[in-house]
């Protein structure tokens, strides 16, 4: 679900070398702007709707300048919040939305998404095929990936005495009161299911109940649960191990390279966040121009360095700094990564109750 939620200003945390390469990217871009689409002043406004901090401010102002469009950046907290708003607006109000895969599937089903204009959005071809044709948009007609992520385990080997290789190690008493968890119950309950050899999308209620019992046993190790800035707690030493979203992993490593990243042996979760245009987008032309702009390799590279997600734009890779290429490349292990999908209300309710029971076990 919200695997891709957390993104951050990497630039300021990452040191010197990256800053230098950023400058180069910046220069390259300026040349492009002066030679390119000068005549295409669209004017008016663009209503962008996504989480906070999804774009570097300079990228947005460059778009505004180039196209004479004023961007209104509205935020939501949860995907569900976005869909509720979009539904009440009957597919209007917003021009470009970035959200997680599963909610886009719902939005498409509800008829709230328009097909992409392949002519106007000529940069669609830059997208890495590996991220195309997924469950939420099998024909790629409605959405363009903006980033991908895999929640991973990160720990401080100086504090944690054991070697962590998989989810099961999180239960080890050596981690007592030291574990920071993301707050997404489908993902966290999902790793319990994984340790039992089941799928993230298990729907058998009895299996779920059993996973709930196992989850409760994790309670003594949990220091805190936070959907946001979970990496900060690792950086500051508030926690010594964490199960984090990709962007958070990138950030944690940037600040403390000595941290160890684990690709859990039980199998990975995987998710994509993508851009789409609502069916009644009021400023459709600006929306198309924006998506096309973001897909430009050098612009895209800057966005990826900023948000810290796995790069979904093939053409952008050469523009990434060396260090970032390593961090943002899709790991081989992700090939069999599992999407978190809809499992229906009955299973969802069990998940929710397990989660509440788990939290009651904390403190």
């Amino acid at each position: 679900m919200k695997i891709w939620k957390k993104k951050k200003r990497i630039m300021t945390i990452v040191i010197g070398g990256i800053l230098a390469s950023m400058l180069l990217v910046g220069c390259g871009n300026k040349q492009e702007t002066s030679s390119g689409q000068e005549e295409e002043k669209i004017g008016g406004e663009l209503n962008l709707f996504t989480w906070d901090g999804m774009f570097p401010r300079e990228v947005l102002s460059e778009f505004e300048e180039e196209y004479g469009v004023q961007i209104n950046y509205a935020n939501f907290d949860f995907d569900e919040d976005m869909l509720a708003k979009l539904e009440t607006a009957k597919g209007g109000d917003y021009d470009v939305i970035i959200a997680d895969d599963y909610i886009i599937e719902l939005a498409i089903q509800e008829g709230l998404v328009q097909k992409l204009d392949t002519e106007k959005i000529s940069n669609l071809g830059n997208v890495d095929q590996a991220f195309q044709g997924q469950f939420y948009d099998p024909t790629n007609e409605y959405s363009v990936p903006y980033g991908a992520g895999i929640p991973l385990i990160v720990y401080d080997p100086n504090v944690i005495d054991i070697e962590i290789t998989g989810y099961a190690d999180l239960w080890n008493p050596a981690l007592k009161d030291n574990l920071a968890l993301i707050g997404n119950y489908r993902v966290v309950n999902g790793i319990v299911l994984k340790t039992m050899g089941k799928s993230f999308n298990e729907t058998d209620l009895e299996v779920l109940e059993e996973s709930g019992k196992k989850l409760k046993e994790l309670a003594p190790n949990v220091r805190l649960i936070s959907d946001s800035n979970t990496q900060d707690y690792l950086i500051s030493g508030e926690a010594a191990a964490g199960f984090l979203y990709t962007s958070q992993v990138t950030l944690a490593l940037a600040a403390r390279p000595e941290l160890k990243v684990v690709y859990p042996k039980e199998g990975l979760g995987f998710g994509i966040m993508a851009m789409f245009m609502p069916s009644q987008a009021p400023h459709a032309e600006a929306g198309k121009a924006f998506i096309n702009f973001i897909l430009r390799p050098e612009i895209s590279a800057r966005c990826f360095e900023y948000i810290g997600y796995v790069c979904t734009n093939r053409e952008a890779v050469p523009y990434l700094s060396e260090e970032m290429q390593k961090n943002l490349a899709l790991p081989k292990e992700a090939a069999d990564g599992e999407f978190i999908m809809e499992i229906g209300s009955a299973a969802n309710e069990v998940h929710e109750r397990i989660w509440t029971e788990f939290k009651a076990e904390l403190d």
């Binding site: 406004e45 989480w51 906070d52 209104n72 509205a74 907290d77 109000d93 946001s228």
Partner: protein
């Protein structure tokens, strides 16, 4: 005997110091050169500069001011009229309505936010400043209403009656006698409404639209991402503004 007055004063001072501690921390950290609030890298005005360059932040401040201003004026008009009117009618429903009108400040905000969102979409209202003002007015009215009403209850009605006996019309009595007497209650109700509206996150998140970010919503969504030191700078400025306004009104009052 001296100790007697000292202990209470010490108590007051200690509590006040504790109350201002987190605010002080925010002010100090707004001058921190580092982006990460865990590290202190020396004094800098960087975040103040960034703040003034951040157009969306300035817009959020403007939206919040408009929203709080409109809501507290609406609430002042509706609330005052109602408090005055309620004294003069004897409908059976009035106690009931007065009770219901206070519900918005009595139940947890999240319930109200959810209810408003669903209800406004049911009415087909476009989300934005209109829905924000409607929702905020709903929880501002009770502040003005209850304050004005308790003032009216404690008021000397003989003044009004005397004026009426002297032949003053209903409207004239209200503006020359009643209004000046209840003005302090209206003003304090409005101030409280303004503060509550200006600080509201939960309800605003539910009813805000595509182009109207308010400041607290912006702070809340940013907080999830780690508070930018810009926000510390903004809070410091807001605090300074408040102190200036309060100090200024104090000076004016003294001059009078």
């Amino acid at each position: 005997m001296k100790n007697r007055t000292k202990i209470p004063n010490m108590f007051l001072i200690i509590i006040l110091v504790i109350m201002y501690l987190p605010i002080l921390v925010i002010i100090v950290y707004s001058f921190n050169a580092s982006k990460i609030s865990t590290v202190w890298e020396g004094v800098s005005l960087r975040w103040y500069q960034e703040l003034f360059r951040d157009r969306s932040m300035m817009e959020a401040v403007r939206n919040s001011l408009i929203l709080a201003g409109l809501s507290c004026i609406n609430a002042a008009i509706i609330g005052t009229m109602a408090a005055v009117g309620m004294m003069r009618i004897s409908w059976k429903s009035k106690g009931m309505i007065a009770y219901f009108s206070t519900i918005p400040i009595m139940i947890p905000e999240i319930i109200l936010g959810m209810v408003f969102m669903v209800f406004f979409s049911f009415l087909g209202l476009p989300f934005g400043m209109v829905t924000l003002v409607l929702a905020h007015t709903a929880f501002c009215i009770p502040y003005v209403f209850t304050m004005v009403r308790s003032r009216l209850i404690g008021m000397d009605v003989s003044l009004e009656e005397a004026a009426r006996d002297l032949g003053a019309g209903e409207i004239k009595v209200f503006f020359t006698i009643t209004l000046p007497l209840i003005a302090p209650a209206i003003v304090s109700g409005m101030l409280l409404s303004f503060a509550m509206s200006f600080d509201d996150v939960v309800i605003s998140i539910f009813v805000t639209g595509a182009t109207t970010n308010t400041l607290p919503v912006k702070i809340y969504t940013q907080m999830k991402n780690g508070v930018s030191p810009e926000i510390n700078a903004l809070s410091t400025i807001m605090l300074l503004g408040t102190i200036l306004v309060i100090g200024g009104s104090e000076v004016i009052r003294r001059k009078r």
